[in-house]
Amino acid sequence: MPTLDAPGPGYSEVVRLDGHVLDSLVLVKVLDIIVEAGASYKILDFDIGTTSRDESHVRIEVSCPAEATLGSLLERLQVHGVNREDSEDAQLAEVDQDGALPDGFYSTTNLATWVRLGGRWVEVARPEMDCAVAVSPDGSSARTLPMHRARRGDRVVVGMHGVRVARPGQWRGNDDFAFMTSQVSSEKPKGLTVERVAASIRRARTAGPDGRLGKVLMVCGPAVVHTGAAPAVAALVRGGWVQVLFAGNGFATHDIESAVLGTSLGAPLGGGQPSEHGHANHLRVINEVRRWGSIAAAVGAGWLRSGALYECVKAGVPFVLAGSVRDDGPLPDVVTDTVAAADAMRGQLEGVQVAVMLASTLHAIATGNLLPASVETFCVDINPAVVTKLADRGSRQALGIVTDVGLFAHELAGSLCGPSWQAQGPHGH
């Protein structure tokens, strides 16, 4: 099954060509000009005249890596009779009820999107799937709007007219790994895979042309701690390779339990028999943090002195802990209102270029729902179903790596932090 139908430059426009375009070789010329300009085309409709007297009608989608190139190319093509398909402005409707959208609202994808306002294509800020598109009062900007945030008087796009969506593009770095796919494979050499993830993270942490660094988001499930990967995650945070962390009550509790008591759900991580009544360890830990009032307070008091969340607090890396109905406690930092939790996650996505999801189903899918397709997303899980699920819910950019998360995180930390990362514990410097 092909994983990629064409290199996917992001800017495209549909144009028409009518007349005796075959016999005049005008169509050939137009297609040649498109290709010579470094753009690509897709014939959408081709109505060929049945006799030499009949005109032909062609609809062509012209795609270009840069919007400016597309504009000048279309201008050049106009001389040869190529016309932009009549474009209409996006239709807007006013929100008439808080928290609900007008009938026929345009539902977004996670791809880069433009809406036509007053004859101008305006890029929609913060691409996110399953949202509406809200337009600023002066019509100069547009952004995604989650349903629950709609307020009376907001103007949102309704219908499909005047909306343009970028085709899924290739990632930066045109290599065999960098394709847009949800392909899951347990057959790939893991060392190579880890190196490619590390390379993506390094690339994000190298200043772009605008001088800004991209952020790396890590999403962690409880198995990160059970598999002994928490110290690796802690090292990555300490090393400056993680800028945002999303998790739930489980990961946070186990991370703190292992840091304070050396157990995870009562089982000693260093080996040996589960301690008596050890199953209650995590409740004692939650209870203790609740006494301190927050994880940061527990760190400040010197009670919590290692682990992934400790490193986050120390390094000032923001984390969002989203709650669920089966949580014990929960920890005081956990946002128990799921809508508020999603909003808190949204608030941390600005600038994220790479997302690494480690052994998490619930939080990986929740994060996938919020991420633009342009974010390089790696989903590491021993269970291929997680990646499939993520892709089925629209996060097609996610690349699945089926492996033990403990091994993966160790190797990733080794690659990014150096082979001696395990020696550089929090108390080692």
Partner: protein, 292 residues
């Protein structure tokens, strides 16, 4: 003297306009320089000479009355495109010539033509940019310099014949009649210098035996000739081209039009063919039910 079997099958009835008010009053092509004015008497003399040669070749000349202030009205090829009883009026690209259209249309109406206009607003400069080519009624049409390709589909619908569009890539050859001169069903003089590869391929598909012009021949406006039967009335005819035309069975008559070249026009530009036949009617579809 005309050899009847030769020729494109049209061009024996021509519209011309006396150059009484002809001058170079503006610059809309690379040949025009307002400081290089044509000599009025010289122009009148050259024009009369051209009329004489055309009549000698067997053409009948109809007259469009000159109008003061419209110096380019003499270039009747740009008035429109005549096919059968239909006059498709031009829509000039340059404002300097747009006032000519009212005069052209008034003349066409007075002669009983059905006056039509290519739909839309895109420029179309008549027979200067549209020439019937070959036996199947196909019209070759130039675009980019003056006429717009956007007018070609509408022109095809009006005329009921296929229009093949070729891009004019060189501003020195700003009208199709500077690069293409149909001779008969198999031949045409072609200045490939004014076309691109696509255009040359289109011409080859219509004209099995093209006579390609050399650079100096194209620059001397050799393609801007009027073909009346077997006689080619040309602004100039270098020996090589003369031999090629004679070998193809044509007689050459040179009509010096140097005064008009100062405005960027040659022999063909000074004439408009009025006898391009309408295409044969498409056979009506058989009746779906029996006739009474």
């Amino acid at each position: 003297m005309a050899i009847d079997a030769k020729g494109p099958g049209w061009g024996r009835r021509l519209l011309m306009c006396e150059p009484r008010f002809f001058t170079v009053a503006y610059e809309i092509n690379p040949y025009m320089h307002v400081e290089v004015r044509p000599d009025p008497e010289g122009a009148m003399g050259q024009w009369a000479g051209l009329v004489g040669l055309l009549q000698q070749a067997g053409a009948s000349i109809e007259r469009l009355g000159p109008v003061e202030g419209l110096p380019d009205l003499v270039f009747t090829a740009n008035a429109g495109f005549v096919q059968g009883g239909r006059f498709v009026a031009s829509r000039f690209r340059h404002p300097e010539r747009q006032a000519e259209t009212a005069v052209d249309v008034a003349w066409a109406r007075s002669q009983g033509y059905v006056v039509e206009e290519v739909p839309g607003k895109e420029p179309f400069e008549g027979a200067g940019d549209a020439l019937p080519s070959g036996p199947r009624g196909v019209v070759l049409a130039g675009y980019r310099q003056r006429s717009s390709i956007q007018a070609h589909a509408g022109l095809s619908r009006l005329l009921g014949v296929p229009v093949r569009s070729v891009e004019l890539v060189d501003e020195r050859f700003y009208h199709l009649d500077l690069v293409f001169c149909p001779l008969d069903d198999r031949r045409a003089m072609v200045a490939g210098q004014g076309l691109d590869d696509y255009g040359c391929r289109v011409v080859r598909s219509l004209v099995p035996e093209p006579i390609w012009l050399e650079g100096s021949e194209a620059a001397a406006f050799c393609a801007n000739s009027v073909v009346v039967g077997g006689v080619v009335v040309m602004p100039a005819c270098p020996p090589r081209l003369g031999r090629a035309l004679e070998a193809a069975g044509y007689e050459v008559a040179v009509a010096p039009v140097g005064e008009f070249l100062k405005a960027g026009g040659g022999c063909r530009c000074l004439t408009l063919a009025l006898d391009v036949p309408a295409p044969p009617a498409v056979a009506p579809a058989p009746a779906l039910w029996g006739s009474a």
